[in-house]
């Protein structure tokens, strides 16, 4: 079960913009947006996932800059699907003001795609990179 620092909190205060750290202590991105369940009548929505990446950050920026940011994010994807990188709420271990720790390794997360591309295509080809 996820451990939260407080029982009641606001989106800007605790989850949004927090750094994500995977189970090995490596940074895995930042929380750019929150995914909520579709509300059923009489039931408030529930937090179902954390969203990160430029396709999630663009809508939060808003305006023209946000649209461009989102478009760049979409272009950098191998598939044309535009749904942001999703980290299921069940993978969250601990949430506090410094960081959010996850139960999975970052290689298994969708947000690793861009990093893996940079590592393989650019940095990995330079001698001495340690790849």
């Amino acid at each position: 079960m996820t451990r939260w620092e407080e029982d009641e909190f606001t989106a800007n205060d605790l989850p949004l913009d927090r750094e994500l750290i995977d189970c090995n202590g490596m940074p895995a991105g930042r929380v750019d947006d929150l995914e909520l369940s579709d509300p059923e009548p009489g039931q408030p929505p529930v937090l179902t996932a954390l969203l990160c990446g430029p396709t999630a950050f663009g809508p939060r920026l808003g305006g023209r800059l946000g649209t461009w940011w989102q478009a760049i994010g979409r272009r950098l994807r191998p598939v044309s699907e535009s749904y942001p990188n999703r980290i299921d709420a069940g993978l969250i271990d601990h949430v506090d003001r410094l960081e959010i720790t996850l139960l999975a390794a970052r290689e298994h997360l969708d947000s690793y795609r861009f990093r893996r591309w940079t590592e393989e295509k650019i940095i990995g080809r330079i001698p001495g990179s340690g790849a």
């Binding site: 009641e8 989106a11 205060d13 995914e35 909520l36 579709d38 929505p45 529930v46 937090l47």
Partner: protein
């Protein structure tokens, strides 16, 4: 539904009066009957100026520097909390609620 779709929406009360733009979402942890934990969206916070909240001055843990806590609390004094149960319709960037503006309360965040 995403948080960014709610933040920034204009809220209108039962009489059509503008309450303000949503700048924050209130969550509360609840235990479901089957023992799992749910992080529920309790209320929306709207009106006021969001900048002070973003810098952390909405909570009362910020002590200074001198003019800022007062300044931001003054700017945020028109912040109002809309419980989720009051919402009647969400249409694009517009949210309608069932109560009147003067029936809404300010957020109570007396944390040290």
């Amino acid at each position: 539904m995403m948080a960014s779709e709610l933040i920034g929406c204009q809220v209108h009360d039962a009489e059509g009066q503008d309450v303000g733009a949503v700048h924050d979402l209130h969550f509360r942890l609840r235990l479901r009957p089957d023992g799992t934990q749910a992080c529920q969206l309790d209320a929306l916070e709207c009106g006021g100026i969001g900048l002070g909240h973003r810098l952390g001055y909405g909570e009362h843990a910020m002590r200074g520097p001198w003019p800022f806590p007062r300044l931001f609390r003054y700017l945020a004094r028109r912040s109002l909390v809309v419980p989720w149960t009051e919402i009647t319709a969400i249409d694009g960037r517009r949210i309608d609620i069932s109560s009147r503006r003067d029936q809404l309360q300010a957020p109570q965040k007396a944390r040290t």
